[in-house]
Chain length 285, copies 2
């Protein structure tokens, strides 16, 4: 099996490592617009060979793991290039635009839209790790539009990666993921910004930061090149979540100004049951 | 050495475990208004003996590890009860009010105000763990108001716990800690609230949550009994940080509405240097 991975960052690189380990005789080819990343991925033995985009005509599987703006821009051409028996899947964090852009493509049945809910705040080939996807959720959209045989091939890979599969339509995916992923990133970036702004005048602040702060701003280390296009593509949903979040913060502030600390206690108690909800989430070890 | 610990939650319980391990012949006495907690701490061997408040007249060291409203309410009485050679320190997350309430107390020199920046989102005696304080920062306020000999006794304990000491005045402490700790908790609670509200109608949302979400809402598991009084005591500073945070979120939203994703990219890039800042923070293992 010849697997071409376009984009050798955290997700593409980590998939390469697990696929190499899981499938006998698999060959992993790397494609990346960034030559340094390509060299690095080759040197780190994440890919067996360096390749160029038009070589994907030899692929049995193409994995597109690049920022979502690049996915939308490149996916039609990628489908043009692959042969009729090749499975192409992408792993972006938005689904509506990508499903839309290939909806009328003659090779639509070669394509599967997937979103593995896995990642860390790190990026680039050096961030790639084994077992990143183990126990994580993989959301597949419009599965019925993919050829049976190619669905199977992609699902076999996801199974070897240890992922559990959920099927969902792309509109619902984008709406829900805004709440449980995109909003968290903005909350974290803006928290980091607020504290950094303060720190300019108060050098001692970060000496006082503990693991709680570290946890809430961890996502502010994330790659802007990956995240700006996600926010752009999912603008409507993200703005909605952001408005609800700001309204909740504003209400909390009002309760404080009114000295209604009983209501604040109640707010926190009501939110405490997030404990039970979070139990199901598998955290990177 | 007889050490009395008033309040056997995460912090008091964890201190008990480390002190017991570090000092030969130390006896740990537990005092807690919650009889179930006291029984539990005794059963878990966190304390050697159960005790009552007025028995602290026998103490060489009293550690006050209860919510900050209770600290302010009880500390004068605690100082009344201890003998002249007893070191009393508390470990609350605010410092101005507590330093104020004992400022004219005849036993002010028996008291040391400390804030070990350590904790987890868990609470109660069962949350107590060894080595919680290792490598963490401990902020001491108004050290000059504590008797030399008793400073020394307290510092020896902090040293055995593995903490690094920073000295600061209580007003600065409360101002800075609002940014790097109190705001993170509100950000996390309100993020949890926003998503839980949505989830009432959309049961699938949490199935899509990954480790990024887990990280940003982790603090929403924290104890309301501990946190409501912190927000109350540090109201002015917390409201200020909250206003800056909301303004930053609002500006981010405006950039999105204006489709200025270049500026959004820049915002994130500017905040990315939080990476370097966070390197110094020791996370619980």
């Amino acid at each position: 099996m010849k697997v071409y991975i376009i984009g050798l960052g955290l997700i593409g690189g980590s998939m390469a490592l697990d696929i190499k380990a899981a499938f006998d005789g698999v060959e992993i080819f790397g494609v990346d617009a960034d030559q340094d990343h390509l060299e690095e991925a080759h040197r780190l033995r994440i890919v067996d060979q360096k390749a160029t985009l038009h070589e994907i005509s030899n692929a049995d599987v193409v994995i597109v793991s690049i920022p979502v703006d690049a996915i939308v821009a490149m996916l039609p051409e990628i489908l043009d290039l692959v042969h009729d028996d090749c499975a192409v899947f992408e792993v972006g964090s938005t689904k509506a635009k990508v499903c839309q852009v290939v909806s009328g493509h003659p090779k639509r049945r070669n394509f599967l839209a997937a979103h593995p809910i896995a990642g860390t705040e790190f990026s680039g080939p050096s961030a790639a790790v084994r077992h990143l996807f183990k126990g994580k959720t993989n959301i597949i959209c419009e599965v019925e539009k993919t050829a049976f045989k190619l669905q199977e091939r992609a699902l076999r890979i996801f199974k070897e990666l240890g992922m559990r599969i959920r099927y969902m339509d792309p509109i619902s995916h984008d709406k829900h993921i805004a709440y449980v992923s995109h909003l968290s990133h903005i909350s974290s970036f803006m928290l980091g910004k607020t504290v950094i702004e303060k720190e300019k005048n108060e050098r001692d602040i970060f000496d006082m930061a503990g693991s709680g702060f570290e946890s809430t701003v961890r996502l502010a280390k994330s790659s802007p090149a990956m995240w700006a296009p996600i926010f752009e593509q999912n603008k409507e949903n993200v703005v909605e979540t952001l408005e609800e979040y700001i309204a909740n913060l504003e209400q909390f502030k009002q309760l404080m100004l009114q000295d209604d600390f009983e209501a604040i206690h109640q707010e926190m108690e009501d939110t405490n049951h997030i404990k039970e909800i979070l139990k199901g989430i598998i955290v990177n070890s």
